[in-house]
């Protein structure tokens, strides 16, 4: 293998290993990854829907979402492309709040988004304080490049599960693979077990 004299590449912190999953490096930037064009939606046209295995679909307009109890959280995020970003600050509404009082026998969730992106997550992984609809990042409204107005935030899984431009979740009895899962990425995506690809 040819080594390029004097090349070091982007600064890669071998940081505090307790916080960095295997195979990851810490970045100070916030890379923008996207599988397609950035959707734009007018806030007065925006809504979030919970549909599928529940008695009545529920939905919220932008105003209604903003009126719900919100949380400021600080989490580490881990992208399957190997970068991790520590102590990211988000503002949003817990999925638990949205599912409050919902009776369902669903075990699976499929998140769907403007632009057609989807991702699947077990229901238990978006409840119990593990997931949010995030509309603020670093004290500012979430930028469209990073999924604004609202993205799903599920930081304990690889970041492709934190679907940008999310418009709803479908509660399902059976599991339906989402966009990247259907193309060969891992169905669950636990960074601590390095579950990047199907079969890992």
């Amino acid at each position: 293998m040819h080594i390029s004299r004097g090349f070091h590449g982007r600064h890669r912190e071998a940081a505090d290993s307790d916080r960095i999953p295997p195979g990851q490096y810490v970045t100070s930037g916030f890379p923008v990854l996207s599988a397609g064009p950035t959707p734009r939606v007018a806030l007065d046209q925006w809504s979030f829907v919970i549909r599928g295995e529940l008695d009545e679909p529920r939905s919220w307009s932008w105003e209604e979402l903003r009126a719900l109890p919100r949380e400021d959280i600080t989490v580490d995020i881990h992208c399957v492309t190997k970068w991790s970003k520590l102590d990211t600050d988000w503002t949003g509404v817990s999925i638990d709040t949205l599912l409050d009082g919902v009776d369902t026998s669903a075990e699976h969730v499929l998140a769907f988004c403007d632009g057609g992106y989807t991702t699947n997550v077990p229901l238990e992984d978006v409840t119990g304080g593990r997931a949010w609809l995030a509309f603020g990042y670093d004290g500012e409204p979430l930028d469209p490049e990073h999924g604004g107005p609202v993205r799903l935030l599920v930081p304990h899984l690889y970041f492709w599960k934190s679907a940008k431009w999310v418009r709803g979740i479908e509660l399902r009895l059976d599991d339906e693979p989402g966009f990247w899962e259907g193309y060969g990425y891992h169905n669950y995506g636990d960074p601590w077990r390095e579950q990047r690809y199907a079969g890992d």
Partner: protein, 84 residues
């Protein structure tokens, strides 16, 4: 967002030949054109090639441990003129 020229090297690895002139037919809208003129997203967990007219996903390439996984289900037809 780039075009198919940006993945010419990757496509050459996969198909063993230059594919920028290969003509793909979109399974979404039927539009036909060279891969060089498709809308390509390379800053993602994989390469996503979309139809410039309807945004339908034409091709996805994922690389895992030295293996390329290529999905061309978004094209109903992919044609490349044989070399000399």
């Amino acid at each position: 967002m780039l075009d198919g020229n940006a993945i010419a090297g990757t496509l050459d690895d996969i198909f063993g030949a230059d594919m920028t002139l290969a003509v793909a037919t979109c399974s979404g809208c039927g539009a036909r054109g060279p891969l060089a003129e498709t809308a390509v997203y390379v800053r993602a967990p994989g390469v996503v090639v979309r139809c410039r007219h309807c945004d339908n996903v034409l091709v996805v390439v994922i690389e895992r441990g030295g293996t390329y996984c290529v999905d061309v289900r978004g094209t109903t037809d992919l044609r490349s003129i044989l070399g000399p």
